[in-house]
C-alpha cells in the first residue's frame, strides 16, 4: 500500500493558464515589494511592530563564521589594518581583531551585521575564484563599488567590517581585541586602562 509520504511526492499537473497567472502575480508582487523596500517604505507596519526587540534578542548559540569565512575574514582585516612593525603597531589579527569580530558577531542584535560580513567573505571568495584577481585588487574593487542601494553592497559591507574591526583594534582590551592594550601603547592613546572606575 502506498504510504501518505510517498503520495505527497506524486507530481500534480498545473494548467498553463494557472501557471501564467500565479507565476506572473508572484513576479509582480515580489518586484513591487523589492521596489518599495528599496525606496525606503515599510511594506507592512504590522510586521515591523512584531519584530523582536534587538535589545532583548539572545546571543547566537553557534559559531558565526565557518572555517572558510574565518580564513577570508582574517586575511581581509589584515589587509584593512596591516599594522606597522617599525612602530610596534600590531596588525589587526595580531591585535586580536578576529577574536573580537567573532565575539561581536555572536552578540545579541548583531545578526544584520553578521550577515553582511558573511556575504562579504563569500563575495571575495567568489570574485577571486572567478577572475583570478589578487585580494588587494578585490578589496579595491569592492571599495569602489557604487551599488550602495542594492540589497548587498560590497562597498557598504566593507566599510561596516572596517568600522567593526576598528572597534576591536582600538576598543577596550576587555573584548579580546587591542590585546594587552598594544595598540593604545603604540599610538600613545591615553585611555584609562582600567575598565571599571575605581576612584
Amino acid at each position: 500500500m502506498e504510504s501518505q509520504d510517498v503520495a505527497k511526492l506524486v507530481p500534480v499537473s498545473v494548467g498553463r493558464r494557472t501557471f501564467v497567472i500565479v507565476g506572473g502575480a508572484s513576479v509582480i508582487g515580489a518586484g513591487t515589494y523589492a521596489w518599495l523596500r528599496r525606496m525606503g517604505y515599510e511594506v507592512d507596519p504590522a510586521l515591523d511592530a512584531r519584530r523582536e526587540p534587538r535589545s532583548k534578542s539572545g546571543p547566537l548559540p553557534y559559531e558565526p563564521f565557518d572555517p572558510t569565512a574565518l580564513a577570508t575574514l582574517g586575511a581581509l582585516v589584515d589587509h584593512l589594518i596591516p599594522g606597522d612593525p617599525s612602530r610596534n603597531l600590531p596588525s589587526a589579527r595580531e591585535a586580536g581583531v578576529l577574536d573580537y569580530l567573532v565575539a561581536a558577531a555572536k552578540a545579541p542584535g548583531m545578526s544584520a551585521l553578521r550577515d553582511e560580513i558573511l556575504k562579504l567573505t563569500r563575495h571575495f571568495d567568489l570574485s577571486m575564484k572567478k577572475t583570478g584577481e589578487t585580494f588587494e585588487a578585490a578589496i579595491a574593487a569592492a571599495a569602489a563599488d557604487t551599488g550602495a542601494r542594492a540589497k548587498f553592497s560590497p562597498a557598504r559591507a566593507l566599510e561596516a567590517t572596517l568600522r567593526l574591526s576598528l572597534e576591536g583594534y582600538l576598543g577596550h582590551p576587555h573584548y579580546g581585541g587591542n590585546r594587552d592594550a598594544s595598540v593604545w601603547n603604540a599610538l600613545a592613546i591615553a585611555m584609562p586602562r582600567e575598565r571599571e572606575m575605581k576612584h
Binding site: Y41, P45, D84, L158, L162, L170, G171, I189, R195, H199
Partner: protein, 521 residues
Amino acid sequence: MEEVDAVVVGSGAGGAPVALTLARAGMKVLVLEKGPRYAPHDFLHDEIAMCRRDFFTPFVEDDPHTLRRSETENPTRTNAGWISRCVGGGTVHMSGFFLRFQPQDFARWPFDYAALAPYYDRVERELGVSGDESKNPNVAPRSGPYPYPPVLTHPIANKIDEAGAKLGMHPFPMPRAIVTESKNGRNACVYCPLCGSYGCEVGAKSSTLASLIPLAEATGRCEVRANAMVRRIEILRNGRAKGVVYFDSQDVERTVGAKIVVIAASAIESARLLLLSASERHPRGIGNERGQVGRNLCFSTLGRVRAQLPYADFGEELKAAMPFIGRAVQDFYGDGGTFHLLWEHPNPIHAAERLLRDGGRLVYGRELMDRMREHFTDGRAIEAECFSEWMPNDGCYVSLDDRVTDRWGLPCARITIARDPRDRERSALLVDKARALLEALGAKSIETLDVGGETFVLQHGTCRMGTDPTSSVTTPDGHVHGIDNLFVTDGGALPTSGAVPSTLTILANAYRIAERITAHA
C-alpha cells in the same frame, strides 16, 4: 488605580527640578522614567559599551525615530533625536557647558531674562556649577559668583588667552556643571579623561541623577520608577488631566492617577506623547486643536572646526593630561553666538572613524595606518564648537510616523527638518572667528568640519510657551492651553534655542514652572 499628587514623565533637566520642588512642597510625587537607573559602578571606561551600543540611547530597531529633510523626502529610520534614556536623562552623559541665555534671547519669549534669573541662580547652587564670571565681559547679568571655582585647565588655555587678546577677543573659563570642591555630599572632579558622552563615576558631574533626584528622594515623598514607558495621557470628562498610562519593566500596562501631570520626556518625545494621546475629545492629540504640537522644532545650530597642535611646535607641555581646555568666547553673541575650544573627544574609535574617508573614497591599509599614526602621535587635536541660534520655521517639526512603530507598537516620532538661511550665516561668522583664534594660536591643519549643522541632543520649541493659543502649546506658566493641570517642562517649552547649550535654561525654566505649580496648588 494608583493615585499620587503629581506624576512627572522624565527625570532629566525638565523633570527633576519639578519633582524636587513639588516633593519639597509636600506633594506625593511619582517620576516615571523610560530607561534604567544606573549606579556609579555602571559607568565604565569603555567606548564600546558606553558610546557605541544602547547604554544611553536605544537601538534604532527597538525605538526608532524617522528623519527627513523635506516634506517630499522619504523618512529614514534613525536614532538621531534621542538624548538619553535613563534616570537623569541627558544630564548623565552631557558635557555640562552651563552658560545662561543672554537677555536678548528672550525677545520672542512671554517673559524676560529677569523673570528667569533667580532660577538660574538656583540651578547653579543646587546642581552645582563651577565658573568664573569675572573673565567674561559679555556675561549675562547675575546676582553673584558661581558657587564653585572653575575647573582646572590645561596650560594651553593661557596661550589661548594670549592669542585671543591679540585679536581683541576675550576668552573666559567655560562654566561647567561639574563640582570642583567636595561638599554637600558630592565628590569633587577627579579630572579623568572621559567626561562628555560618559556617566561620572564619582558623581562630580552635576547630572540630576547625582544632584536633584537624591534630594527629591530624601524628602520621602518622591519615588523614581525606572523602565516605565508612558504611552498615553488620560483626560477626564471635565477636560482636566487624569493621569497617565504606562508600560512597566515587564511591559504590563498600568495606570496612575494624579492631580498634576508633568511631561518632561524631551522636546521630541513630549510632543509625540501629546499626539499619541489623541481621543474623541482631542482627536488631533492633546493641546493640538490648532495644530501647534510638534511645530517650531528647533535644535541648536552647530559649527565645528578642528585643528592640530603639533608636539614639535608646542613642546612637552602639550602632553599634560589635563582634560579641560575650558575657554569660551561670547564677543560675537548678537551676530553669531558662542564658541568654545576643547580637546577632540578622546574616544579613539570615534577619532579613527573620522580618518576613514578622503572625500568619497574609503581609506584603509597602509594609508589608514599612516593617518592614525599622524593623528594620535604627532600632536593633539583641538576643536572649536560654535553654538548659534536655530531659527524656528514652519518646515521644521515633529509628527507621528504611522508607518514605523517602536517595540511597543506605537507610532514613532517623525522629525522633519528645514533651515532658516540665517542659521548658516550666523554659524559661518562664528566658524570664521574660531578659525582666526586657532590660527593666532599657531594651530596647523585647520579644517572646518561643519557650518550650520545640527545638534540633535539640544532640542526645543515643540510645545512652546506663549500667551496666544494659536501660536503656542503651553502658557507662560507652563500648562497646556485649556488644561490647567497638564504641564510641559522640558526643552519643548522653550520658544527659542538661544546661542548657548540650553540645558541650564531648561533646568531653570522647569524650576520656574514648578514654583508656579506649588503657588497655585
